[in-house]
Symmetry: C2
Subunit: 214 residues, 2 copies
């Protein structure tokens, strides 16, 4: 895994910089369309201005997500991987480059919205303090069993779009049990990014994590 | 792109074999949980025994999908990529290996359910005759714009889970218009794998495609 070694070195460099600047960095991953951006829009609106937030958002192309997030007032940097080969994940060196667009001394919380992909992003350390995986209940309860690396490598899981549960055949208990087998004691927050149901425990987890680093 | 060259050679070998055995091969791709397996369960039930079907299904791990599909009576081969590195896509050589488990002389239609990933699988020719991308309306109307390669490289799009439209803010016209920009004249079938709404035109497309090859 030569490629990952070079990435690990750069990730550690990023991590040292975040430590020196006292910035808590959260790497957010999921399948395409699980609700990362929608969750971030609502999260930023609830955390700011108490917590000084910024976002780096990765996509193959378009600035759709950055435009949506910029409306929060937080500084946002968009990375488009189609400009350098169409990578399906964010690696540490592209995060390092994106930092050039941010003033880390004015930030408490940097959230990286990774590219929608439930496989490769989990393999790349970018220097983050914690990782959160978003699983939409519309995707089915079997995703943790079928894509275990992502759920093993993340620190927190958000079970999103719970407002749709009345219209789905989603087996919530099986999803929770499977997550528990793959990653014992992983905190799971059941939320709706649309209605903001379940947001308080998720926001409390972020506030605690940011405070612990500052 | 050294890796893809070796893959293209193997894909052509597969394609020649499928031609000699008169098997129409369909490569089905999507994000995780868009409804590939559910769509296939309903599709196989409607096409068999008139059309002799078989399936190769790829996942990182578990045999969940193969078990669900085997109930149709069609021969099913499960590929688990965690046995050889956890690849996020199916390449031509693993399809070639999986063919060892099938009697191609007894098959008219071979469907390959690829690994849930809206990026990498579109880059790997496996020797198929056609490709179909499944987009769930729960993922949002912006996926074609944000993940254009997949939608450009596929021959048909299935807009799935339309039974959920009454509960979503999905902009159907924007999704259709964006698909038209990225891939002019791409056939788009709006379906529900749950209720089988919209299935007839999709089944007719398959029957015509299989008949054209035999
Ligand atoms: N009903 C419902 N819809 C949601 C919720 N969260 C997001 N959505 C919808 O899901 C679709 C995708 O949401 P996004 O926030 O763009 O998803 P994403 O994970 O950022 O997508 P990518 O960045 O492309 O991977 C949009 O149509 C949203 O309106 C939710 O909690 N409930
Ligand atoms: N409401 C509704 N749910 C659907 C439909 N199609 C699939 N589902 C649900 O969506 C979830 C995922 O469906 P699957 O068929 O397993 O999806 P998949 O694309 O094969 O998933 P992977 O193989 O893991 O990528 C399950 O909970 C299904 O019940 C549909 O048309 N309508
Ligand atoms: Mg997004
Ligand atoms: Mg499946």
């Amino acid at each position: 895994r030569r490629v990952l070694d070079a990435n690990d070195i750069m990730a550690d460099r990023n991590r040292q910089r975040f430590q020196a600047e006292q910035v808590f960095v959260l790497n957010m991953m999921s399948s395409p369309g699980s609700g990362k951006t929608t969750t971030l829009q609502k999260t930023l609106a609830r955390l700011m201005p108490e917590i000084r937030c910024a976002v780096i958002v990765g996509d193959i192309c378009t600035t759709n997500d950055a435009d949506r997030l910029a409306a929060s007032g937080a500084p946002v940097v968009q990375i488009n991987t189609d400009e350098f080969g169409g990578d399906c994940h964010l690696a540490a060196h592209v995060i390092e480059k994106a930092l050039g667009g941010l003033d880390l001394s004015a930030i408490d919380l940097l959230i990286v919205e990774n590219i929608g992909n439930l496989v490769c992003p989990a393999e790349f350390d970018i220097g983050e303090d914690a990782r959160v995986v978003v699983l939409s209940v519309t995707e089915g309860e079997d995703k943790p069993a079928k894509y275990p690396l992502m759920f093993r490598e993340c620190d927190v899981a958000l079970l999103n779009k719970i407002d749709l549960l009345p219209y789905l055949d989603f087996d919530r208990q099986l999803a929770i049990d499977t997550l528990g087998e793959i990653h014992p004691h992983m905190p799971i927050f059941e939320i709706s990014a649309k209605t903001e149901a379940g947001f308080e425990p998720w926001l409390a987890w972020i506030r605690d994590a940011v405070r612990a680093k500052l």
